[in-house]
Amino acid sequence: MSRELLLQPLKELARLLERREVSSEELVRATIERTEAIERDLNSYITFLPEKALDEARARDRERARGEGKGPLHGIPISLKDVFDTAGVPSTAGARFLAGRLPSTDAEVARRLAHAGSVLMGKSNLNKFAGGESGENPDYGDMKNPWNLSFSPSGSSGGSAVQVATGMAALSMGSDNGGSVRNPASVCGIVGLKPTHGLISTEGMFPRAYSVDHAGTLTRTVEDAAIALEVLAGGDYVSGLARPVNGLRVGLARNLVRVGEPEVLRIFGDVVKKLTEVGFEIVDVELPSPEEMMPAMYAIFFCEWGVAHEPWMRSHPEEYDGGARAALLIPAADYLKAQQQRRLFQTRYAQALAKVDLLVSPTYPIVRREHRRLPVVAGRRFTLDDALRYTMPYDLMGLPAVSLTGGFAHPDAPVGFQLAGAAFQEGKVLQAAHAYERATDWHQRHPAI
């Protein structure tokens, strides 16, 4: 089975399975062969489950033969970022000291995907504890960007993005508490959807910071994201994708789109022009700046991180280097004040979204993410705040946002942009993203590996 077939959208693979032009066993076997051929270069898995996947695939084929097809994910190879609990399968959160952790039950996400007939290929590598956007993991090794192995796929859901970009999975689940689904999607040339806070259950997802943790999808197309969201959250997200977008108003906070490598800003300018051509109306809006929002984000994030991880911070202090245990020293008053300020930010976002249907921005200000070194732009080395400036606000606000490819800075360097909307307006966000995707061919490019 060809590499090209494995790089088809999930929807196309589902069609082939439905018509029995290919069996799930054939699809999974081909996926295993491809994974074994390229994984050594990419380091995208913590736990790869080829035998289990083949057993599951044969069971899915038997079900289909009995007329018990379960929908578009039936027989489709998927992966889970290793923050999602899987019964009887190591669930490490990217930390080797948790390698023996075998949950007794599946995370809700894993349960729903299994119930829909998908085939789990394995548990994806990530930044340890889902922290950071570097695509590094001191315990399980750096992840590599399939477009150029010298660079990072970003993170923290780096392994998931690599697998989807290379055809090792048609869908991977990630988590996002500052941009961890969308940033890897941006530099791997795929689609990363972070829905409204809570729309996809985080039950059984290894916690990072409760009120900013989101589960999200990584797919090769926007339509695939809509298909996955229907399984994960219920509801109808596919049928509205093709609705006309003429006249939809897209808000742009121009004064905030100043930070980024030049190619990112140039491509974003091209995206805005293309959106206009597609039929959207671009409207200037005012939003709180990331500089205003970051202190509140950190107060909330670190307090919740300290609470979520306190047992391990006490039992395994050596796993929390770099002063991470200082999270337990932030005053409760700061946490509550940050929650006050968060509500005020929500008001300002609501005011902007009362004028427009959607918001647009770059996703990730970096073209090629080096391991252990953020770029120097205009004489200044980027910080983590810079790297997360476009994605973090939607985690703090809990609003839905999707990243999709807006162009290429180099033939081996995709660059994403981000569309976001009001709470629970995933349908509109995906509709807009789908319209852009149909007007371009970026999603049809794949890494040469």
């Binding site: 809570g198 911070m313 202090p317 020293l329 008053a333 004040k337 940050a338 929650q339 005020l344 606000m397």
Partner: protein, 80 residues
């Protein structure tokens, strides 16, 4: 007395949100005492340097707005 001032009074140093000059007073011994007293953590050898760096980089100076009730459970839908 604000918590920050209380901390300073307790520990003899400025703590969270301290200014640059005050930050110089956050000695390793003070950090170790804070970890033990406030969080019940026994510092690992050398850990105080990272904790100190975190505390000095952490800034949260938002003035409380008594009219805004902080959400105890975050709701992404803003309700009036």
């Amino acid at each position: 007395m604000r918590r920050r001032e209380a901390l300073a009074s307790l520990l003899g140093a400025a703590a969270l949100g301290a200014g640059t000059a005050e930050a110089q007073d956050l000695s390793p011994e003070t950090v170790i005492q804070m970890m033990r007293t406030l969080a019940g953590l026994e510092p690992m050898p050398g850990e105080e340097a990272g904790v100190r760096a975190f505390l000095l980089s952490y800034r949260y100076a938002f003035p409380s707005d008594p009219g805004v009730e902080p959400a105890s459970t975050f709701d992404p839908e803003l309700r009036k």
